[in-house]
Each structure stands twice: as structure tokens, then as C-alpha cells.
């Protein structure tokens, strides 16, 4: 039986080989990347305990990212559903429109400390890429972003933003032309250019150190939230459900990290993966559907794959969730039963988007719309003393074209 430890951040609960729970994560990387990964690990472990680095981070989080993002009650939605009280953490207010800015900012700060002039990153929804291009520009780094050709088409507003920030957006035509292929291509690029280039992995996936840096960065979300919950309710309420969409899992980890030590009975953690089109067998929900443990992008985790170990194609309306793998720390949270994982279909996410935007003045992108779908599903069955908090971690501007095509002009 694998177990969580208390009072130690989840990102640090790995063994000396980089595995959480003895089997998730690790470093399945080509020899060439051993040294850069080790260098980065040493640098990060030094920086994270360095007071002046923390000060710098907090300065940029506050003055550049705009922390804290607000915590609001969705009164009309709560009334409409007639059950649990629903709140949202509006992470989409962060500079750039999503949580990806935390990881991007920290990576650029590290890249500067490492003396690197170039940063390279992957992106699916385009937010990780957009944010890296923003932060790179701010810190004077040259930026290259790998993005699947399919995603370039469906997330155009973010592609435009990346280009405006001076990033070189490289379309990836291999495989399913989505996030999985972008990450592969980005890693290949790093293999060839690791002497002068820093790599940013856009979520809590990849070799051990990238999971850690990303989780350490997005953890800001739950530090804010804990404070906000305490000031709203005077103390942490007895029944809380924290609902977050899960692609790679960076947003969910950041939303949950301060609350993992609480009892599940008090604070339930619910991750919502992409169930794909209702009529399709394809999905991007390895945790929900019991995918087997495998190796993808340098880490061992549950991954959608066939019996031969070939990675499956995925499908989701949400480019940010359209990924066959998932973070090793979410695998760990699943197996220790601390978090519960489920999925929402494309259609459910769209319905949720419609309902939420009809009733409330918020505009969640398709990724958090998956989380809202679960909130909408369970809220009516819960009592008024249950507090549901959804991480509204992205803004829907990027989904303009998809929403228009699927919902028409009146939404």
C-alpha cells in the first residue's frame, strides 16, 4: 500500500530515483539530457530555499501576474441548481488569462539564473505557450514554442498572442498533431540544444524536476485560496469539494496542494478529465478509465496506450486536456485515494459553459468548463452546507472559434 505523507509538499514526496509512491514519475530520458536535468535539479533545489529568489518570485506573482486572483460566489448558479453553494477561484484573471503564467514566470526566472538565453516550451491550448512567450519577453529571453498543427488551427487567438510577443511558433505535424506531439518535439529540440536553451514543460508532467517546478509554481493558487476561504467562512468549512479539470494536472495540483493534508471527508479533491465526444471511443481520461501504467515523456504514469505500449490517439474539444498521459502526482493521489477522478464529455462541457455563462458574469474556457460540468452534476444532490469551489483556470477568449461553431452566434 502506498501512502501519502503529511506536512511534506506532495512534489517532494518522491524517492531518490524520482518516483512518487515507488512507481510514478522518475527520469526516463536519453543520456544527453541527464546532465541538463541534473543541473536544473540542483539549481532549482538551491533557488527554492533562497530568500532573495522567493522575494523575486513573489514580486512578479503580485506585480506581474496579479496575485491574488479573486474568489467569488456563483450565487445564481447555486440558486439555479438548488443544492451546494458554488464558488469559483478566478485564476483566469491572472495575467494572460490562465494559471500557466505561474509556471512560465518561474521557468524564465530559473532560465535567467542558469544563464540561458533561449527558452523552449510546448503548448496545447496555447496558454502555456502564450505565457512563456510573455514571460520570455519580459525577462529578455528568446522563445520558441512547439504546438500541434491541429491545435494551431483551433486555438488561434493564443497563437496570435505568441507571435505578437515575438515567439517562434513551430507547428508539429507528426502523430495526432496535438499536445502529445508538441511535447515530444519540444523534448527533441532540447536534446539538440540543451547547451544554451532552457526547456519549460507546460504542465506537471515530464521528467521529475519538471513536475516539481511546475507544481511549486502553481501552488500559489491554493495558498491564496486557503487564505480566501478562511476570510470568507472564518474557518475551513466542514464540507468542501475542490473541483478542477485535469490535463497534465498543473492547475489541479496548484489548486489542491495546500489542502492535501486535510481529511477527504472535509475537503474532497475532484479531478475532471476530458471524456471526449459522447459518440466516440476516444478520450483523454487515463485516470478515469483505468489506463495502464506506462512511460511517456520521461515519466512513468497512467497513460492511454495499447497492449504493445503504443500511445493512443486522444480526442477532446478542449485542446488543453487533450493529452494521453497525466502527472505522476495525480496517479499517486488516485492510488492513495486522496483524490477522485472522473471525466466530462465534450457535450457536457459545452452544456456547462452555456449554463454558467448564462447565469454568471464569468467566461470559463473549455478546460474549466469540464470542471463546471461535474459541479453542475453533483451540486443538486448536495446540501446547502456543502461548499463547492471550482477552479476557473482559463478564459474562453481562445475558444472563440470552437464555441461559435458548436453553439452558434448567440453564445
Amino acid at each position: 500500500m502506498i501512502k501519502l505523507k503529511k506536512k511534506i509538499p506532495l512534489i517532494d514526496q518522491h524517492d531518490k530515483n524520482g518516483f512518487w509512491g515507488g512507481k510514478f514519475g522518475g527520469n526516463f530520458i536519453p543520456e544527453t539530457l541527464k546532465k541538463p536535468v541534473e543541473d536544473l535539479s540542483i539549481l532549482f533545489e538551491r533557488l527554492r530555499y533562497n530568500k532573495s529568489f522567493i522575494k523575486q518570485r513573489d514580486y512578479h506573482f503580485k506585480n506581474y501576474i496579479g496575485s491574488p486572483t479573486s474568489f467569488i460566489k456563483l450565487q445564481k448558479l447555486s440558486n439555479h441548481l438548488g443544492g451546494a453553494q458554488i464558488y469559483a477561484k478566478m485564476v483566469s484573471e491572472a495575467n494572460g488569462g490562465a494559471h500557466k503564467i505561474y509556471n512560465a514566470t518561474v521557468h524564465c526566472l530559473i532560465a535567467k539564473k542558469a544563464g540561458k538565453k533561449y527558452v523552449v516550451g510546448d503548448t496545447g491550448a496555447g496558454y502555456a505557450g502564450k505565457m512563456l512567450s510573455m514571460a520570455a519577453k519580459r525577462f529578455g529571453l528568446k522563445c520558441k514554442i512547439f504546438m500541434g498543427a491541429k491545435d494551431i488551427k483551433r486555438q488561434k487567438p493564443n497563437v496570435d498572442a505568441m507571435k505578437k510577443n515575438g515567439a517562434n511558433v513551430v507547428p508539429v505535424y507528426s502523430g495526432s498533431q496535438t499536445l502529445v506531439d508538441a511535447v515530444s518535439e519540444c523534448m527533441r529540440y532540447w536534446v539538440s540544444n540543451c547547451d544554451n536553451t532552457h526547456m519549460c514543460v507546460g504542465s506537471t508532467v515530464g521528467p521529475n524536476i519538471f513536475v516539481k517546478i511546475c507544481g511549486w509554481s502553481t501552488a500559489q493558487i491554493s495558498r491564496e485560496l486557503k487564505f480566501q476561504i478562511q476570510s470568507e467562512f472564518k474557518k475551513i468549512p466542514k464540507k468542501v469539494k475542490l473541483i478542477n479539470c485535469v490535463g497534465g494536472g498543473s492547475s489541479a495540483y496548484g489548486f489542491w496542494s495546500e489542502f492535501i493534508d486535510y481529511e477527504k471527508k472535509q475537503i474532497e479533491l475532484i479531478g475532471v478529465e476530458a471524456g471526449g465526444p459522447r459518440s466516440s471511443k476516444l478520450h483523454a481520461a487515463p485516470l478515469t478509465n483505468g489506463a495502464k501504467l506506462g512511460i511517456l515523456h520521461g515519466a512513468a504514469a497512467y497513460v492511454c496506450q495499447n497492449s504493445e505500449g503504443q500511445i493512443n490517439e486522444t480526442d477532446s474539444i478542449s485542446a488543453g486536456l487533450d493529452y494521453p498521459g497525466v502527472s505522476p502526482i495525480h496517479c499517486f493521489l488516485k492510488d492513495t485515494k486522496r483524490a477522485r477522478y472522473t471525466s466530462a464529455t465534450d457535450e457536457h462541457a459545452l452544456d456547462a459553459y452555456k449554463l454558467v455563462t448564462k447565469l454568471e458574469k464569468i467566461n470559463p474556457s473549455l478546460e474549466p468548463s469540464h470542471a463546471f460540468a461535474e459541479a453542475i452534476k453533483i451540486a443538486p444532490k448536495l446540501g446547502k452546507n456543502t461548499i463547492i469551489i471550482v477552479n476557473s483556470c482559463g478564459d474562453a477568449k481562445k475558444d472563440r472559434d470552437i464555441l461559435k461553431a458548436r453553439l452558434g452566434n448567440n453564445k
Partner: protein
Amino acid sequence: MSLINLAFKKAKNKKRPALLTYTVAGDSSKKKSLEILKSIAKYADICEIGFPHNTPIADGGQIQSSAYRALKNGIKIKDVFSIVRDFKRSATPKPIILMGYYNMIYQYGDNNFINICKKSGVDGLIVVDLPYPENKDFAKKCKKKNISFIQLVSPTTSLIRMKKIIMDSHDMVYYISMLSTTGGKLKVSPEKILKKYNKIKSLNKNKNIVIGFGITEKTIASLRKADGLVVGSALCKEISKSVENRQNPVTNVTNIVKRLRKKIL
């Protein structure tokens, strides 16, 4: 003496480096890839065969294309082993090294995979994303079955690390010539590559050190001082070209290998 060691020894006796080829099992088809192997084996000393993976994080465009083509043709691991078996029963078999990514082995189970390798006649294994020291256990299991686990060393490998890797290595060590995926253009001078090569060699003269990545008909002669030289992407590229031009890849690839061999005589 292992067949791999023997192949190096034979080449050394003739005062030339061993020529190692890399092609992907199932490319351009299961049948053709076996024919290619049988045909190039007349000129190559050791044949590496890739077992294709659809998320190859260290391979460049040419080997990716070969892998995708093979997978599209429906190649399965069991087919890869049957290609190895058939090749080993042919008139001029050469030592075979399987090369691939760890997930496929992982899904099979380490022991199961190594057992089938043994039964099929595999002489060595290269697992791209199972670096040292994570590969220690796996390498030991291979050794028990007399299969060479081939360690990789790259330009980023530190001297201390290199010493440990060489100490734990089997018959052959693979030096990656430059910071690159497979199929990159040789961006480092041959002198520099050989300098690093000599440093590795000096750690243990008995190990066979091969150089790979970026080696083509153009560059092979300049590196002929090495124990062995691996050519992969240039062959995969030729298969792609042959398929495109509706020519027979067997003849075309064989011609390249023939010419490569001539350049290191």
C-alpha cells in the same frame, strides 16, 4: 566470445572499424525489412533494428517516418522478433542489436522481453530512454542471459559518470557524437568527436566504442579510427525515398551500405 565482440575483432584484424547499420523493423514492410537486413548483412558487421514506437522522443524526422510507416503497416513486437529469428537463420547472419524505447519493454515485462530476445537470437539491446544508473537492474538481467546491454555516452556525460558507465558496460558502448536527435547534420568536427572518443577509449581499451548520430556517406571516412560506426538515418531516408519513387528499397539501401563499407576499408 560474444558474437558482438567477435564482429569487432574481425573488423580490427582487417584494420577497419566495424560498420553498424540501423533500420526499423517493418519498414517499408515486414517482408521488405527482412529482405533489407539479409541483403545489407553482406556488407555490415552488426545490424541494429529499431522496434518502432509512436512517441520517439530522441529520434529525428527520418527515423520517425520509418517508425510511423512500420506501425501503419501493423508491425507488432512479435513481428519484430520473427524478423530477428528469420534473419538469424539466413545464410549470412550478423549480430543483431534491438533498439527502442522502454515503454514497450515495460508493457511486456522486463524478464519476459529478455527471454523472448534470447529465444529469437538477439545479441544486444539499446534502450534509448533508460539511462544509467536507472538501467542497472535491467542491464544485469540482460547479462545473465548473455545479451549485451549497450550503454550510451554523450557529449554532456561528465567524466565521473563516464567512468561509472564504462565500468558497468558490457561488450559495446555507444558514443553519441553530438547534441542531437538521430538524423541531425554533423555539427561537430570529426577531430573533436574523435578526441572525446579517445578519452572514452582510454578509460578501458577492451571496450568496443562505436560512434553514432550524423554519420553519412560524406562523413564516415573521417571517423574511421573508431572501433565502430553506426549509420541509421541515412538508410531510413533512403527507404523513404525509394517508397516515394516506387523503387526497390532493398537494392537502394544495399548500395548505400556497400559504398559506406568501401569508405572505411
